[in-house]
Symmetry: C2
Subunit: 303 residues, 2 copies
């Protein structure tokens, strides 16, 4: 399969071998090679515009809300008072758009390494890039590692909206990165990272969670439905400096009226709870992080 | 895109326009045209064997357990004593395999119209077709409509494991079909039908649910993750003759030991609850079944 042929874009990657989602393309709106990656924006037939980095779908206008809301509100609603938030990555602006909605958030710092992703998003994906123009936001175009090394004990919540663990983003899934996030947190702080899906990368999910568990006294994995991500699901790895954090039970519960006024289309407190509820095979994979010999428990194995 | 080219099978259908899931194929194990449909069995590279009917993926060995367990145990665990079960469709045998596990079930009748699907499944998909050899099962190769017309007030649970609402299966999503199921039920009986996904066919889901609501005093919609179905999700429409049925709260809760001995890999009581928990946009679509003017609320619409 070629990635762009006969009016279809196909997503192929070693992380989800043997399967490929294709989107019908009306127009290639933009294509460039930045210092960090290949950037492409497609006008799809049925999913609005799509941002593609290094051949992987980052978001489509049709379902980005599910991902952006969940990676933002899961950690924010587990923190009793999330005043200062750091976003690492998130170059399309969608996570900043969501974080800025939380009434307790006073200041958002965002560190994105690739200025071109920001520029392209501003031009082609204004419904996401609107996040960049929020008065709460300070945007830093630099390396997230370096930024965090210079900012100790400053943030209540650190959200890592990264691409998948191939190429430049690999380091964002390692234990040293979780340590760096820990150091950047104020007491009681919470982190939330894109964490892959147990349906395609169960070993990777278990490994990322185990790094988080090794670094934080409380840690958990949650997931949401995002149809244009591989297998239609995406996961989140959360860690808290407060050992009493019960991730399943949000400390902040917004009313339906509040959710409506924030234009939330996926998140509410019930969905928050459900996101931490795992199918049995996934429970086993994730509990095996304390017993690595059980880890090869892919969904396709017969029991 | 062609459906089978260069070692990949691509699933294309008007029900999910502009998107297509492809599976890498090692071998086409079987291909025939039965009296009812095109039947194909593929040996895929990463998802085990796949059964394809009229170009649509019905199941793969990698994730069929999620669908088969949920369409079976959601209704079974909402019924206080599901002794007699009717399965309509389900020609691969996977639903019979799951239903037979429930200790209360004494007799299963299954009506599948296409004998060739059964034969092909027995030959190529023995891990599913094992359901056909269970002593609780009586298999009838005939039309489900006709069978139900001849069986009034006989069943505690009716499960419809159909293909999607294109071609021959369209009638299984209409109000007349829900009336027929209602007539086949004993007092307190429950039905569960494959119900599509709000991410691709929100109008269709809302319509099917409204048919169910018009026919049964209690009705609900649930969903599960099944990566090889379009959008990675599949839904279920449930109806009960008992107006007090609370679908979210199973009356039968199996212990972990019981679930383990039944080899369940997706279902447990928590997942049962979570399956009825909808993202906000889906809540709106489904609540609009009582107000059809709100129904055009697709996930891609901005709010």
């Amino acid at each position: 399969m070629d990635s762009l042929k006969k009016g279809w874009f196909s997503e192929l990657n070693e992380l989800w071998p043997g399967m490929s989602l294709s989107l019908q393309v009306e127009e290639v709106l933009h294509k460039e090679k930045s210092s960090y990656q290949d950037i492409m924006v497609l006008q799809t037939k049925s999913h609005g515009k799509a941002l593609i980095l290094d051949g992987i779908i980052q978001c489509t206008e049709s379902d980005e809300f599910a991902y952006q809301e969940m990676i933002s509100f899961l950690p924010l609603c587990c923190h009793p008072s999330p005043k200062r938030v750091l976003i690492v990555g998130g170059g399309d602006g969608g996570v900043a758009r969501e974080v800025a909605k939380h009434p307790d958030v006073e200041r958002i710092d965002q560190v994105e390494i690739d200025a071109q992703v920001i520029e392209v998003s501003k031009k082609f994906l204004p419904s996401m890039a609107v996040g960049f123009s929020h008065p709460k936001l300070s945007l830093h175009v630099e390396d997230g590692f370096k930024f965090m090394q210079q900012h100790e004990h400053e943030f209540d919540v650190v959200i890592t909206d990264s691409s998948d663990p191939v190429g430049p983003a690999v380091s964002l899934f390692q234990e040293s990165y979780f340590s760096l996030m820990r150091r950047a947190l104020r007491p009681g702080g919470i982190v939330c990272s894109q964490g892959g899906t147990v349906w395609a990368n169960s070993e990777h999910v278990a490994q990322t969670l185990s790094h988080c568990q090794a670094t934080f006294p409380a840690a958990a994995y949650a997931y949401a439905a995002v149809p244009t991500y591989p297998t239609g699901q995406i996961g989140f790895v959360l860690g808290s400096l407060d050992e009493n954090t019960k991730f399943r039970d949000p400390v902040r519960k917004f009313s339906d009226d509040e959710l409506e006024s924030m234009h939330l289309r996926y998140y509410n407190s019930d969905i928050h709870q459900a996101a931490f509820t795992m199918p049995r095979f996934a429970q086993k994979i994730l509990s095996s992080t304390s017993n690595p010999s059980d880890r090869n428990n892919n969904p396709g194995d017969s029991s």
